[in-house]
Structure formats: structure tokens, C-alpha cells
Amino acid sequence: MKEGRPRSFYVLAIFFAGYVLFLYGPMIAIYVLSFQGPQGGLTFPMNGVSTFWIAKLFQGTGIVDLGAAFRRSLLLGIIVMIVTVVLSVAAGMAFRRRFKAQSLLFYSAIASLIVPSIITSLGISLEFRIIDDLIKAHWNENFETSMGLLTSGLGAHLTWTLPFGLLIMFAIFNRFDPRLEEAARDLGATPWQTFRHVVLPIILPSVIGIGLFGFTLSWDELARSSQAIGAVNTLPLDLQGLTTTVTNPDIYALGTVISAVSFTVITLALGTIHMLNKRQAAKGSDAGKGLV
């Protein structure tokens, strides 16, 4: 091969830089615009610099009840994260053995990922409407609805986060060395001890990745929430509602706050993953490496 970098490197490097600019440029624009002065509008140039619009959100005097929607989204995100981690790890372990219904579960996950969200969302909403009608007809005439944040809403979000969790587990166990478990078993560990003290520490960085996916996908989820969440709104739904009526930088301020939470969670998770990897590299043994 030729010495130095080929010309295609520079062409593609510029292309890549352009793509990154395209990705981030518009977002940075609204983060900046959310710091408009009180007289500021929806476009550049800036009309003064202040935290007026962000403060207005938190006073609750603005366009949405930010506090309530914020808490709802956060609660849902955390529950989705926990459920996604637990179910994905368990199912990931199951897939290391052959079992009946293996293909069914696999294809359900893939289908759930690629069937358009609006269809899943509509289906869940119909399902709960039919359940409501049954309850009204047979048990309680005054029953309102079984749809809600933690019933239909939680289910809708899980159909989106679980496939990602499962796919990440596949990637983890593709690289996992089962001899480590054999060694633990030979030393007399119970299956749970093997999992707790051998498998889990090794896969922990990726498990945190699954949690990160679970939370942020739920936190920003919109299409599946749209029909399935019930009477209340999550933060993204409020934000979407605003897009048709908005005239003030409120909307940018709300966008900035939502993004800030996303970025905080991403940073925390990546930091933890990095720390765990470093710890693993420092404390892990290299026994047997020279033999292979």
C-alpha cells in the first residue's frame, strides 16, 4: 500500500465532518436560542441573553405544566429502564441454550422493532378500549379506563426498548467465553453464584448500556406514546403539541431542558461504563491468555 493517507481519506473526512455538522448544527441553534432575552423571538438574531424562558418553564406559568409532565416522564423512564435491564439480561441468558419458542421470541422482538410505531400504538389502544368495555359490561358500570402511564404506556414503551436490549445481549454473549462459567462450576459455584460473581461483573458495562438505551428511548419516545398513553401527557407529547401553536422561545427552552436530561443520563452511563472497563482491565487476570 502507498505511504501516508490516500486522497480518499481527506475527501471522506470532510464528508464525515459535514455529516456531524448537519447532525449537531440545528440542535445547537435551538440551545442557543432558548437563552433569548424576554423580547426574543423564534429566530436569530438573538434579542438579548437571559434565562428568562427557562425560568418561566420552571415557574409553571408557561405553556405546559412542566413539573407534572417532567415527573411522569422521569418515573416512566426509570421503570422502563429497570424492566428493560432485568428482562433483557434474563432473556439473553435463555438464548444461550436452545429452547422451545426461541424463534417466536426472536421474531417477535424483530417485528416489534420494525412494525411501524403507529400500528403498535393503535393496537395497544384498541386492546385497552376492549378491556375497558368488558369491565364496564360485566363488572363495574362506572369504570373509567385501564389505560394509563404505567399500564398501556409502560407496555408501549417496552415494545420499543426490549428489542434493543435483547440485541445488545446477543452482541455481549457472542463475545463471552463460557469457559469462565465452567471454571466457576468446577469450583463448586451454584448457578446463581456463577451468574452473580462471574457473568454479571463481566457483562456489567454492557448492561449499563442497556439501561441507558431503556431510559433515553423511553424519555424521548413519542410515536408509541401517542395513542397508548391514556389521558396524561409525557414531556415529548407536550412538546409535540406545542409545535403547532408556538410563537415564543418557550418551546426551545423546553427542548433544551429535555436534552439536558438526556445528555446527563448519557454522560453518567458512559462514565460508569468507562470506569467499569478500567476496573476490569486493572483487576482482571490474564491467566490462560498466553495459551490461545
Binding site: 420494525i114 384498541l126 415529548p236
Partner: protein
Amino acid sequence: MSEEVLQQASPGLIPGSGTARAAKPTRLSPSFISWLQAGPMMLVFLAFFLIPLVFVVIVSFWDYNEYQLLPAFSGRGYTDTFEGCIAQLPDLCTIGKTYVKTLKLCFMVWAITLFIGFWVAYFLAFHVKSKTWQMGLSLLCTIPFWTSNVIRMIAWIPLLGRNGLVNSGLVKTGLINHPLEWLLFSEFSVVLALVHLFTFFMVVPIFNSMIRIDKSLIEAAYDAGATGFQTLVNVIIPLAKPGIVIGSIFVITIVMGDFITIGVMGGQQIAAAGKIIETRVNALQFPAAAANAVILLVITFLIITMMSRIVDIKKEL
């Protein structure tokens, strides 16, 4: 942790007294453990994905009035959807035009995301040599995917609006006299936003395929006298094909069902398959919404079947 607690929490041991059988006091069969492990996820998909899909199909054949669903067999959901279509032939009726428009948007977004995604993945996989840089740059592309889609949509307003940066820039430099009206709330802005949102789904699978290509194959092609272009067409593209197909399936299914981006960026003016469903739901015409969902599902399924002929998805994961 005490031994007793371990026993209770262990997936491999009988957890309490209730299930213990006299003959086999300690171990559960491996298939039962598999059920315990995979069962919960299966239940979620059953309750919130498979059964709802069945309901969509069933309800699409129900009748309805202004107030409620009527559980009686009827083809009204479908006939209302295609109302007047046969009379209008050979011209396309509204629903036909909407689907053609959706497919057109879909094709445009697919072609653009494929082009961008392929070269971004190519750059990351073959030109970035250091692992640290490779990870850092991939992460840079991934982070926006983790943040709100609506925010990434409205981010275009200050740039493309009537008084936005692009228009005022063009007017100031004298290239145009009046602000361009078609920049925002148009097909152009819809395609732009969709590309902005979903190129990620193209980059990741293609990158995954490319990173697995054995570099010695490329050197072999080089040694055998292939030009860069020949290597690309005869070695890299065939080996990256699974990633290309998986990325394409993602982008196509997302765009086919999208109604939010098309709504927000099209100024609620552009009709698309997903929007029909949303409109019908808002009008409480659930059977009609379900009928449209079934039609959309069938079209999406046909596209995926066609594409998965090219590659075995399960083998690639």
C-alpha cells in the same frame, strides 16, 4: 449473602417449598429455566405487541358510528377508506395518491440515508485506524439518536423559516430577492428532517458489517491489481450487503409509518400513510384507522419480505 438467600434467588434451584417435588428436590430442568428466563419478555411482547396486532386486524372488520365501536362484522373500515376509488379510475383517488406520495418520500429518504450512511460507515470502518478514535467518532454519531426527535425537528425552524438563517443569509448576499417559501413546511423540509433523524439507523448496521470484513481480503484485492473502485464494488459492497439491507429495512419501515415528522415538518399539510391512521383515530373512527393500519402493515411486510430475500437477517445478528 447467606446460602439460603442464594438458593431462593437462584434460577437453577427450586425456590421455595411449594414447587418442590419429592423425587427431584433440588434441580429444575433446563427447559423450565429457559422458560423462567425468557418468559417475562415473551409475555410483554404477547400482551403489548402480538395481541394488539390481532386486535388491529379484528377491529378493522368491525362497524362503527360517531360514538363507539360496534363489534359486528363489517367491511366499512375498508370501503370508507377506498370510497370512490373505482369510480375515479384511471385517476388515482386520494388514498392512492397518499400511498404513492408516502412511497416516494420513503424512496427519497432511503436513497439519501443509504448514500450518507454508507460513506460515514466506510470512513469509520476503513479510514479511522485507532480504536479510540473509532469509538469516539461512532459515539459522536450516536448521541443525537438518544435525544428527542421533536427537538431535532423543531431545530430546523430557526434555520429554514421565512426569517431563518438560510433565507436571511441568501437575501443578504443578494442571491435571492424574497425569502424562499418552500424551505419549511414542505416536502423538502420533511425529507431533510427524516434524513437528519434516521441516518443513524443506516450507519450502525453498515458499520457493523464493514468492521467484520477481514482486512486481508482488501489487501488481496489490492495485490491482485484491483483498483480502489473495483475493490469497493466487488469486495466491500457484497460483504457489507447484510448491513445495507438491515439499515434499509429500518429506514423504510420507520418512514412508511411516520406521522409525527411529516406532521410537524410538513406543517400538517402533507398526507401520508401514518397521518391517515392518526386522523381517523382523532375522529374516533377506530375500524377505519385499523383498516388503514392493516393496509400499511401489508405493504411494509411486502417490502421487508422482498428485502429479506436478499439476506438472512437471523444469521447476521
